[in-house]
């Protein structure tokens, strides 16, 4: 069974949103996904990384990590920040909930992640940071 892993750390700059989804996409490509599955992963990772940068660090400097694991036909990504954390994760995950409507955030980030990935797990401690785990398994016909 093919196994692979990677661990990326980068500055919390908005330029790195595109960089991070490219990295996730290049790593996930090793599973020969369909174009749709690839877009799912790129989009979900983009959401989590954007949240780390704008909510976790509020545009201050910090480091974001993106881990990737391939295990057979499954891929897992963990996006971590060491920023402000989330007080109420259940509330944060609700569709349309955003703490920053004034920044024209739609509040749909978590909903997009949930729609495009098989599993979304959020672990957060206020003042310490947030870890979002995204998983996707390719069904056999896709390989």
């Amino acid at each position: 069974m093919f196994k692979n892993q990677m661990h990326l750390q980068f500055s919390s700059l908005s330029q790195n949103e595109a960089f991070a989804r490219s990295v996730a996409g290049a790593f996930f490509s090793q599973l020969n996904p369909t174009l749709e599955q690839l877009t799912d992963v790129r989009t979900a990772v983009s959401e989590a990384v954007t949240n780390a940068i704008i909510h976790g660090y509020r545009n201050r400097e910090g480091l974001v990590t993106l881990e990737g694991y391939i295990n057979g036909s499954s891929a897992k990504f963990i996006i971590r920040d060491y920023g402000i954390g989330i007080e109420d994760v259940a509330l944060a995950r609700q569709p349309f909930y955003t703490s920053h409507p004034e920044l024209e955030r739609s509040g749909m980030g978590f909903t997009v992640m949930e729609t495009f990935m098989d599993e979304v797990e959020v672990e957060s401690s206020p003042g310490k940071g947030t870890a979002v785990t995204l998983e996707k398994t390719l069904r056999r016909e896709a390989q």
């Binding site: 908005s14 330029q15 949103e17 595109a18 989804r21 749709e36 877009t39 790129r42 989009t43 983009s46 959401e47 954007t50 940068i53 704008i54 920044l103 024209e104 955030r105 739609s106 749909m108 980030g109 909903t111 997009v112 729609t115 495009f116």
Partner: protein, 101 residues
């Protein structure tokens, strides 16, 4: 992101090209706001056919322009929406507010 726009009377058509994420959102917002700054403008058509990537940051940008236009009785239309972006529009329910051109 690149934005090319043409005006016909009260209608602006803007062709977006590139990746619409949080990083590019600020620029897109500024350009679109300047395009519809003239209160005569009643209709903004966003042609998305050359948008290669969009995440939920794009929803915020579109909804913001929709609000400006609907406040003056105008409307926003989406054209040429690629399939992956259409999925995001559908889960967000945005088609209840903006029409497909």
């Amino acid at each position: 992101m690149q934005i090319n726009a043409t005006r016909k009377g009260q209608r602006i058509k803007a062709m977006l090209a590139g990746e619409l994420d949080h990083h590019s959102a600020q620029y897109v917002r500024e350009v679109l706001d300047s395009l519809i700054a003239d209160p005569q403008i009643r209709e903004l058509v966003l042609d998305m056919s050359n948008v290669e990537f969009m995440d939920s940051s794009g929803l915020g940008v579109i909804l913001g322009r929709y609000r400006t236009l609907s406040a003056r009785g105008g409307r926003l239309l989406l054209a040429g929406v690629p399939a992956p972006i259409d999925r995001i529009f559908r889960i967000s329910g945005i088609y209840a507010l903006v029409e497909r051109a």
